[in-house]
Symmetry: C2
Subunit: 199 residues, 2 copies
């Protein structure tokens, strides 16, 4: 590549981003250099700062720059309902889509013995302490409807039971706006089995 090692290094470094292959990395590098050097400089600073300074909230494990994140520090959130999610992205999705005003706990993963992820890696100690100390009444289990998410939900339900809490799960079924013809069999079977009485 005409001897510009910095360019080759930039293209290679861009490939750390998910979904960016050799070709998109090249396009991104050229775009930044040709049209948006300010944007590139800003991204360099933002990445550097984020990687160095974003840690985890000591209460909910979500990403946070401060010791306690803004959600945990917000006194207007209802401390009686604790929603447990796998990742910060799931938390964000729930915040944006629902009117949930309780608090969260972010596992930063799911039970996955093959990847070496057990209860300890998911913050069991911290979660148990919250269940004991806080005035939590209900645990909303919002893990993903995958095999590993179901196993994690099962484990969480056990923790809730041990702490004498009500445990609830997100409802499964046919997505709104979906067509039965295209819904996968597992979901359709579940939705059929869990059919509800119209009143």
């Amino acid at each position: 590549m005409s001897g510009t090692n910095l360019l080759a290094e930039l293209i290679e470094a861009l490939r750390c981003l998910p979904g960016v292959g050799a070709r998109s990395a090249q396009r991104m590098a050229f775009h930044v250099l040709e049209r948006d050097r300010n944007g590139g400089a800003r991204l360099a600073r933002a990445l550097d700062q984020a990687v160095q300074r974003i840690g985890h909230c000591t209460r909910c494990r979500n990403f946070s720059e401060s010791e306690v994140c803004a959600l945990c520090a917000n006194p207007s959130r209802d401390a009686q309902i604790l929603c447990v999610v796998e990742t910060p992205a799931d938390l964000l999705a729930i915040e944006q889509a629902t009117g949930f005003r309780g608090r969260y706990f972010v596992l930063m993963g799911r039970l996955s013995p093959l990847d070496g992820l057990g209860p300890d890696e998911l913050g069991r100690d911290l979660l148990q302490r919250r269940l004991e100390e806080d005035e939590v009444r209900e645990m909303v289990i919002a893990t993903n409807p995958t095999v590993e998410g179901e196993a994690t939900a099962h484990w969480l339900a056990g923790l809730a039971r041990a702490a004498g809490l009500r445990a609830t799960r997100l409802a499964h079924g046919v997505p709104l706006g979906g067509e039965l013809e295209y819904v996968d069999r597992g979901t359709l079977a579940h939705a059929f089995g869990s059919r509800q009485v119209l009143e």
Copy 2:
């Protein structure tokens, strides 16, 4: 976003990359923070260095860290053939696909009056000096087969004529491996009109 302004800033900054919308930016930010902080730090450094230190070669205008790029400085490249391209990406494509061993000139754009790109912005002075000083015999015009690329090719051909050089263009026609049925009409009409005698 739970008060982590650094995270919000990172997600926003990632959107300077082409083809990255709000959702991919979020996915990229979470990926870097959760799984690849080293890659993120490396990308921050590479971006910072590239944006600051990559300029343009004083002979061919391609991106270069040094005053003269490696291609121009390479004495084994044939100085008698000069290939003129629109962008560094085009240069790279030709280097990777063909056995071309001559030299390049990168316009860093195409004639586009609406975008304020005229001959001056495309390095006319530098190009003319190269045509006069160097031992160039042939100019290979490798602009894109678009309306603006054709206008640029026309202008370049004039420069070549004025300097007494042979001007050549990349051949147009049906792409290898393409099916006639799916080739666009313009290309097909051109290929039909330029049909060649089999010998």
